[in-house]
Symmetry: C2
Subunit: 222 residues, 2 copies
Amino acid sequence: MTQEDNYAVGKQNSVRQLRDKASYDRELVHRILDTGLVAHVAFVQDGQPLVVPMIHARDGETLYLHGARKARVIRMLAENSKVCINVTLLDGIVLARSAFNSSMNYRSVTVHGVATLIESAQEKLHAMKCISEQLMPGRWDELRAPLEREVKMTGVIAVSIDSAAAKVASGLPEDEEDDYGIPVWAGTLPVVSNSGQLIDDERLQPGVRPSPAVLALQNRRL
Amino acid sequence: MTQEDNYAVGKQNSVRQLRDKASYDRELVHRILDTGLVAHVAFVQDGQPLVVPMIHARDGETLYLHGARKARVIRMLAENSKVCINVTLLDGIVLARSAFNSSMNYRSVTVHGVATLIESAQEKLHAMKCISEQLMPGRWDELRAPLEREVKMTGVIAVSIDSAAAKVASGLPEDEEDDYGIPVWAGTLPVVSNSGQLIDDERLQPGVRPSPAVLALQNRRL
């Protein structure tokens, strides 16, 4: 199956504000989804909006979410299938010469899709692996296999990416032409999320050291 | 007016999952809201869920959000007053001895409230100052005053914090007792967001340096 390079632009995903920052490029959307570690998942429950931060993983045009099988969010997502998911990476603060033109630099993706509760143990296991690998690449194969009861206790939601849009703001301030003469400092302050250094659990078996895959997680830009 | 130390626990904000991580402590909720630079704002539009990342500022029991007055999100928030807002700070990855018990450390707040479009220029200006000071403390007084047309062009939404809950996960893995004997490394990988070093705008007036308030924004844990 060949795919278009861009998501189709429709009522749901069309960006009206700051259109020059919008993109429907599939690769860019995927890259931002794959970089973020937290997805904000919104749905409607009894007419009320709800938004829950969840760990996600992307597999093609599907986003996997998980939680305890009995968790309210899993039950609600199974019942309320329309979802909107946003992943935002904050890149900096833009200090313009006016408060009005000050802003943020960011990479952000919004997805609209349909949530389905996964019943098959095989697909649940696949989703659990995708999520584990998104968070801690290489770790899955180092750990014992999930127990049958752990798979049973896990609720997995698959969300089809029906439409999506990215919005990216980067660079220096854009001030009013009149304001460039004001003798106030202006520029950008980058914001970066990094992983730090591993902290040993208190009950490690003697002589056990982090694997190369785990060591590689340290001191990285996220 | 005296306030209870805790938000009342009701149907909307009661945390069912991982209850030991839940808190309704007003100070903790405020602290997390005040630390985060991005709020995820969810609302319902024509039965569809929408979630939009926005800059926020808290003033007592009100959250201010803003955008272009004509922006779709401002118009929609003005029309769809029920909102749910989440602010999440990611603190680390918890690498347990099983994929099942691996998780994240975080501080997260969910607020339920009612959105109102602010009409008064004075309150709009106050909200703009709150948002500016949340993002760049001390900057407001260094910049020229907002122009009347800038205030007009800005749409401000006030959200009452009607109910709220915090959820905080921290510390080391909690593994199954049976798994502690497995000779695999386990522990925590901290994640930290920091500001970096200021980048000068290309059109600075000669000799203009960042003020102490701006310099103080550098190299900080966010």
